[in-house]
């Protein structure tokens, strides 16, 4: 028998048992759809978290004072020394390192802000103009021009803060009081919402020199550095470490972290989770496979006489085995097709219900689901097919 004819014959058999075909198809399709939707969900969650990190700024390297790592040992701890401050000069020394695109020193504190008789607590960021591009912040109005030297007393407000203090929407150019100092509003940030638990709509940004005197400190909270490219992150990190070690009398008393490292950890966690949920979904495919096997065994005993006839007409065992195998394969393929369609529809539904979640089914999951469906179909048909092939034709024909 030629393969093409076997395909046609088995296809005709499948479509002639319509209800049976539909039920098997449904079982297969649900299994495949479950894999697709759950991986879309897992992968969507991963992308959501990754994009949250990306909104912090790309190729970001963060320097903080003190050693957070326990490995290696920090000699200062033994002799009771506190780590040296991270100063503005430290920050400036990093600006010329190879691979550094820009840097921004950062101080963070809380202060009272008041304007037009309204008073509230606010988180204050002290930095330079570079902070805005590094943190991917956007201006709705105005600008921020602070450098690392002495600056005019200008302030940039988060969108929600600006609305609260100046409900008329005329924040630009207004004067206000922050702590015991007066500032002029030179910019309002565009609304960006929360990113990693830090709401840029509720902050105020002032020049670094003003922040240090307002908060009464010479020590920086962080230095943010943006590398020129992803591949420059590691060399820049090493250069920062060695530069600061030299500046701090040979002691490595700063911690350099990259967003990349945190991001890839989250990435790995969510990938593992996605695998886990798709594995759970694959169980439903296996159950569908058992159902298929059961139905095919029934089909073999239903069609005993027909199998006997095929043998009498000269079909080999191989022919009969192949017919039953292809029959299951058709069902598995159709089930996989419908399942993929259902899965994509379900993922679309998820995206409509939760617009923040980019629940797109990854291509590998769809392919794996199809492959699993087909393999399950083949595995499930092996026993029925070989049972059909081994039927004794005399007994098979005597059954009516």
């Amino acid at each position: 028998m030629v393969l093409k004819d076997a395909l046609t014959l088995s296809y005709r058999t499948v479509v002639s048992y319509r209800l049976r075909a539909l039920l098997i198809l449904l079982a297969m399709a649900l299994g495949v759809a479950a894999v697709v939707v759950l991986t879309a969900l897992g992968d969507g969650a991963r992308r959501f978290v990754v994009s949250q990190f990306a909104s912090l700024g790309t190729n970001l390297i963060i320097v903080l004072p003190g050693r957070a790592e326990t490995s290696g040992g920090f000699p200062g701890a033994l002799v009771g020394q506190t780590p040296r401050d991270l100063t503005l000069d430290d920050a400036a020394s990093l600006a010329t390192l190879r691979g550094v695109m820009r840097y921004a020193p950062l101080n963070v504190g809380a202060s009272e802000i008041s304007a037009g008789g309204r008073l509230r607590e606010v988180t204050v960021l002290g930095s330079t103009a570079e902070l805005i591009p590094i943190r991917n912040m956007k201006f709705a109005q105005g600008r921020f021009t602070a450098g690392s030297g002495p600056n005019p007393a200008e302030i940039v407000l988060g969108s929600a803060l600006a609305r609260e203090l100046f409900p008329a929407g005329d924040a630009m150019g207004q004067r206000l009081r922050l702590g015991d100092r007066r500032f002029r509003v030179t910019g309002v940030l565009a609304s960006q919402g929360e990113s990693m638990g830090f709401n840029t709509d509720e902050i105020a940004v002032i020049p670094i020199d003003h922040a240090q005197s307002l908060l009464n400190t010479q020590s920086l909270f962080r230095i943010l550095i943006e590398a020129q490219s992803r591949s420059m992150i590691e060399p820049v990190k090493a250069a920062i470490r060695s530069t600061l070690t030299v500046r701090h009398d040979g002691e490595e008393d700063v911690t350099v972290i990259t967003q990349d490292a945190v991001l890839s950890t989250f990435d790995r966690i969510f990938r593992a989770l996605t695998f886990a949920v798709s594995g759970i979904a694959a169980i439903s495919l296996a159950v569908a496979g058992i159902l298929v096997m059961n139905v095919m065994l029934v089909a073999v005993s239903q069609r005993t006489a027909e199998i006997g006839l095929l043998k009498a007409l000269g079909a080999t065992r191989q022919d009969i085995k192949r017919l039953f195998l292809l029959e299951t394969l058709w069902l598995a393929l159709a089930g996989a097709g419908v399942g993929i369609a259902l899965g994509y529809a379900g993922s679309l539904g998820l995206r409509l219900a939760y617009p923040q979640l980019p629940a797109y089914p990854p291509a590998w999951a769809s392919l794996a689901a199809i492959a699993t469906a087909i393999l399950t179909g083949i595995a499930a048909s092996l026993l029925p097919a070989s049972r059909a092939a081994r039927l004794n034709p005399v007994l098979a024909l005597s059954k009516r």
Binding site: V2, A312, G314, V394
Partner: protein, 223 residues
């Protein structure tokens, strides 16, 4: 052409042995028209199944066209069944999902012939059994006689050397039975060896050589 020597077929049922065929010796020449008669359980169907290679003898040798076919592999035996042997059953055994034409086409598909040649052969066969206008009807839409004619067309589409008929008229009334017998005899005249197993004395009597069986043995052989 068919040479059975010392053929026995023993079935084991529980701890009891049933000898369905007991040391049968039989030679059938090419183009013979032969009937096998005998009471139920006399072994005539078993004999037919062994000649048709659906069953294998426990002892003895079976030569078909001078070849020892009992020693062939399963696939080779299937090929012999496909190309050299045609079966006709009392209950027709048509595949209900397939049309008359598709039922006749089955052996050609199993043989692996190209579709164009299959179509031509099926058309010719339908013409021969006078059912060209019923080509696309399913078995359920055909009368008993028409079904058996389709089954005969299917059995002979690859020009087998032997046609084995097990009670071919058993499910038919007298008139349609006669049509089926006429078709079988037409095939015999065209040179096919025809072996008919039957209870029907009239049908059995028409054969040129008549074999009587009882308890797994041949007790009469007249021609």
């Amino acid at each position: 052409m068919i040479e059975l020597s010392g053929i026995s077929r023993i079935f084991t049922m529980g701890d009891q042995e049933v000898r369905a065929l007991n040391r049968i010796n039989l030679r059938i020449g090419p183009g013979e028209y032969l009937s096998v008669m005998g009471p139920s359980g006399s072994g005539k169907s078993t004999l037919l199944n062994i000649i048709g290679l659906l069953d294998l003898p426990t002892h003895g040798t079976y030569r078909l066209e001078s070849r020892d076919v009992t020693a062939l592999s399963e696939a080779e035996q299937a090929k012999v069944r496909r190309e050299r042997i045609g079966f006709i059953f009392q209950s027709f055994h048509l595949v209900p999902r397939l049309t008359a034409a598709e039922n006749i086409e089955l052996p050609l598909i199993l043989e692996g012939l190209p579709p164009a040649e299959r179509q031509a052969r099926v058309q010719a066969a339908l013409q021969q059994i006078d059912l060209s206008d019923r080509a696309h009807h399913r078995p359920a839409e055909l009368s008993g006689g028409q079904r058996q004619r389709v089954a005969i067309a299917r059995a002979t589409i690859l020009n087998p050397a032997v046609l084995l008929a097990d009670e071919p008229t058993g499910n038919l009334d007298h008139k349609t039975g006669a049509e089926v017998v006429a078709l079988l005899e037409k095939l015999h005249h065209a040179g096919t060896t025809v072996i008919v197993v039957t209870h029907d004395r009239e049908l059995g009597g028409r054969a040129h050589r008549r074999i009587q069986m009882r308890d797994g043995e041949i007790v009469g052989d007249e021609s």
